[in-house]
Each structure stands twice: as C-alpha cells, then as structure tokens.
Amino acid sequence: MAEIKATTTLDTSGKCCPMPMVETTKAIKALAPGDILEIVATDVGTRRDIPSWCERSGHTLLSMTEQDKVLRYFVRKA
C-alpha cells in the first residue's frame, strides 16, 4: 500500500474522551477540502468514534492502523 502523506498531524496520545474528538474536529476545521489529517491516539474509544464521525461528517477515513497500543488514522477532509 502506498504511503499516505498527511497535510498535518494531530497527536492526542495520552488523552481520553472527549479530548481526542474535540481536538480532531478542531484540527479538521483548519484544513482545506482534500487535505489529509493524521490523528495519533491511544484512547481505544477512538476506534469507533473516528470512523463514525467520518461517516456523519462526510470525511473519508483513508486508513486506520493499530500498533503497540497506538492508533493511527488518516482522514481526508470533505
């Protein structure tokens, strides 16, 4: 799989609900349509929060990976 290049990265490591989602929605607002936001998280709640938020908001979840308890999401802004 080709590497996804993020426009910007948001690291929410260590933070828990509601902060990863609050910071993610804030970060995406600062981007232009088509830009890609990389979100790094350790809150396991984001496993469902981020995909469902993408579905609701029209953003595209390009990738979701988990390694050593670190979750990494790439989201293309609608």
Binding site: K15, C16, C17, P18, M19, M21, T25, W53, R56
Partner: protein, 138 residues
C-alpha cells in the same frame, strides 16, 4: 445531530464530568447544546460553587486522584475551566434553574458570565428540551 438539551442535577465533581464531556463532544461537532442546572448542581454555575465541587459518597477519598486523571485525560481539572472551554465552542448555552437558584443561593450577582441567565424550568422544558433532537438528564 443539530441540537441537544441536558438537565444536570448531580453536583458531585466526578458525576458532573459526564454531562460536561458529552456537551463538549456534541458542541465540537457543531451541535447546539442547551444545559439547565437544577438542584445543587446550580451552584456549579457560580465560580465559588464550581471550585467547591468534590467527589462524594463512597469515592470521596479519591478526589485528588480523580482530578489528576482528569488532567491526564486532557480536560481542565477545574469545572469552571471546563465551562469556559465549552462556552468557547460557541455552541453551548448554560442556564440556571430559577427554583434551584432561589433555594441554593444563586442569582444574577454570583452567576458566572458564561451562563445565559436564570430561567424557569417550564421555559427550558418547552422551548429547549421539547424542541431538541436529543435530551439527556444527569
């Protein structure tokens, strides 16, 4: 979700975190949130009252530990700072119940500036709760 109404009754520090966190999540996504503080929780809408909130009941001894964990989670550990953060989203309105205000000593003079004011429960229930897409009670 376009709108959400929340009634907050419980004023224990740990228990008030949930409605505030839910409001924060919804507001961050653009949902308009109206919160009515009733009973003892009305005091959370005063600076002094917000500062005095404590973990109570069988978890009372863990107050400091809870605050530490809240800060680690990324939320401000002080309830008034959370209220300010919610207000900064531009999507949250805080209301104090007039009956609760009269009983528990909250009026226009000690209400935090982030609050919209003191309102009757009838107005809130009919104009906010009944018209909201989603309604919660804590």
């Amino acid at each position: 979700m376009k709108s959400m109404a929340i009634v907050v009754r419980d004023d224990a520090y740990d228990k008030i975190l949930t409605p505030l966190a839910f409001a924060y999540l919804a507001a961050a996504e653009g949902t308009k949130v109206d919160m009515l503080f009733v009973n003892w929780a009305v005091k959370a809408l005063t600076k002094e009252g917000a500062e005095s909130l404590k973990v109570d009941g069988r978890h009372a001894e863990q107050d400091a530990w809870v605050r530490e964990r809240v800060a680690k989670a990324g939320l401000p550990p002080d309830v008034y700072d959370i209220i300010k953060a919610l207000k900064d989203t531009g999507n949250v309105n805080f209301y104090a119940c007039s009956l609760a205000g009269a009983i528990f000593g909250v009026d226009d003079k000690n209400l935090v500036p982030e609050a919209e004011g003191i309102v009757g429960a009838s107005w809130f229930l009919n104009e906010k709760a009944a018209k909201a897409e989603h309604y919660q009670y804590f």
